[in-house]
């Protein structure tokens, strides 16, 4: 699905990530951890083509990300659901419209999809908030709306960047359960987090690979988790 081969990323003259090799096979579950500023978000952005590697190769669905152009990246993103910590929404559209945005952009929004959207909003517990505007949502509601938007296209891969960063423990467990449920449905999931308790809680329910970024390099986390 997503593969890194000796990837490096530099910015402002400094190398943030180097010699990264990584493969996200179908239906796998990954945690990406490391201290703040280690490069977790940068790595996720490389995963969905928001950043291009300065060395090495990133392949999205077997295609070199540097060779497919911006339109190719855009099409690849329709197969990758992304949940950001800051949950970017279009504030002038309702929650329902924001969740349906990937379908709208892909030209697949139609009346037949209404029931899917309805089910999705029920699944994330936002049925009653469908008419609300994003600024009216709580942190947890925003994260759930972002998750619903990330999965509405039934993507192959879901990337979540600190999805529980702005929510309380109960809500973080609820979001984690939703992500585990998606993984059981065959989706590849990668969660970037510095919250080790979240990783420990997840490992009780799912076989997850934990990767740690340390000194610009990626390594498999040890038994301390």
């Amino acid at each position: 699905m997503i593969e890194f081969d000796q990837v490096a990323y530099s910015y402002g003259g400094g190398e943030l990530l180097s010699e990264l090799s990584l493969s996200l096979p179908p239906a796998s579950f990954h945690f990406l951890t490391g201290p703040s500023g280690a490069g977790k978000t940068t790595l996720l952005k490389l995963c969905y083509g928001a950043l291009l590697p300065t060395a090495g190769q990133v392949r999205l669905f077997d295609r070199d990300v540097t060779r497919i152009g911006r339109d190719g990246v855009a099409l690849a993103r329709r197969r990758i659901g992304v949940v950001h910590q800051d949950c970017q929404f279009l504030d002038h559209l309702s929650v329902a419209e924001n969740v349906a945005l990937p379908l709208t952009v892909a030209g697949e929004a139609n009346a037949a999809m209404e029931s899917d959207l309805s089910e999705l909003l029920t699944w994330v517990g936002l049925t009653d908030r469908a008419h609300a505007l994003p600024p009216e949502l709580s942190g947890g509601e925003r994260q759930r709306a972002a998750l619903a938007r990330a999965v509405i296209m039934s993507p192959d891969v879901i990337l979540a960047d600190e999805p529980t960063g702005n929510v309380d423990w109960d809500m973080s467990q609820r979001l984690l359960r939703l992500l585990i449920e998606l993984n059981r449905m065959g989706k590849t999931v990668m969660i970037a987090t510095h919250d080790l308790s979240l990783i420990r809680a997840a490992k009780a329910h799912v076989q997850a690979r934990v990767l740690r970024i340390s000194n610009r390099r990626l390594q498999l986390a040890g038994a301390d988790l």
Partner: protein, 298 residues
Amino acid sequence: MRADISAAFSREAGADRVVPPSGFTVQLTLFSAAAMAFLAVFALALSLAAGRLADRWGDELARSATLRISAPAEEMPRQTARALEILSTTPGVAEARALSDSEQRGLLEPWFGPDLPLDQLPVPQLIEIAEGPERLDAAGLRLRLQAEVPGAVFDDHARWREPLLAAAGGLRWLGAAALLLIAGAMAAMVTLAANAALAANAQVIAVLRLVGATDAYIAGAFVRRFTLRALMGAAAGTGLGVLAVTLMPDTGDTGGVLTGLGFEGAGWLWPLAVPSLAALVALVATRAAARRVLEDLA
């Protein structure tokens, strides 16, 4: 909730909805399109009126000429009769007629008043000449008149017709140049507005890219928005412009280029094209701006 979900899938929620509806660029685009369309209507009216005036002057003056005979009173009837004889046999002259005293008095009346004692003044005799389809040899006619009617001066109006026609033609081109400048100014304003809107909506663009929007989709959303605004503004400006031109005082045949502003016949189709052309200008300008900004944001 169902209504909200339906709205999410309705055409309203389509590409055009992804661009926030508010912002100063809305008013800027609407106002500049309306103002430019208003000015374009006047430039069109000026250009068309100048064209009509040039045609009318050209037609009227090219078809007529005047013969002026200055001679002693006792010689005047003979020279007039001889001049008419010559004119009657001159190819290109359809009709030649000596103006009566009352007609001549009428011509002088605006300057000298109604009680002009014409019989006591050495007023020349005027002969009005209507030219026919055949070309009139003005040089040959002058030579004949010089030999047989020494007091006659033939005036084919060329001396003052040509500068008038040149002036009218210049006005016509001035109107066309004004239209081009207006289109350019509007393109510049729409480009500025589109640039500002795109820059102000960098976050919107980031979200759209996050969910898989291509550059063509994002640009299309902005292009449609600005094109529609330009069309609406230009339609309003055109309407007001046409109304203003229609309300201009009509002085009929005595009107010049300024008082004869307006549209006639097929000329009414020109202002109808202004909103479409404004929308086209906005479309091209916004597309170029969108490509540039999306490239920068990438």
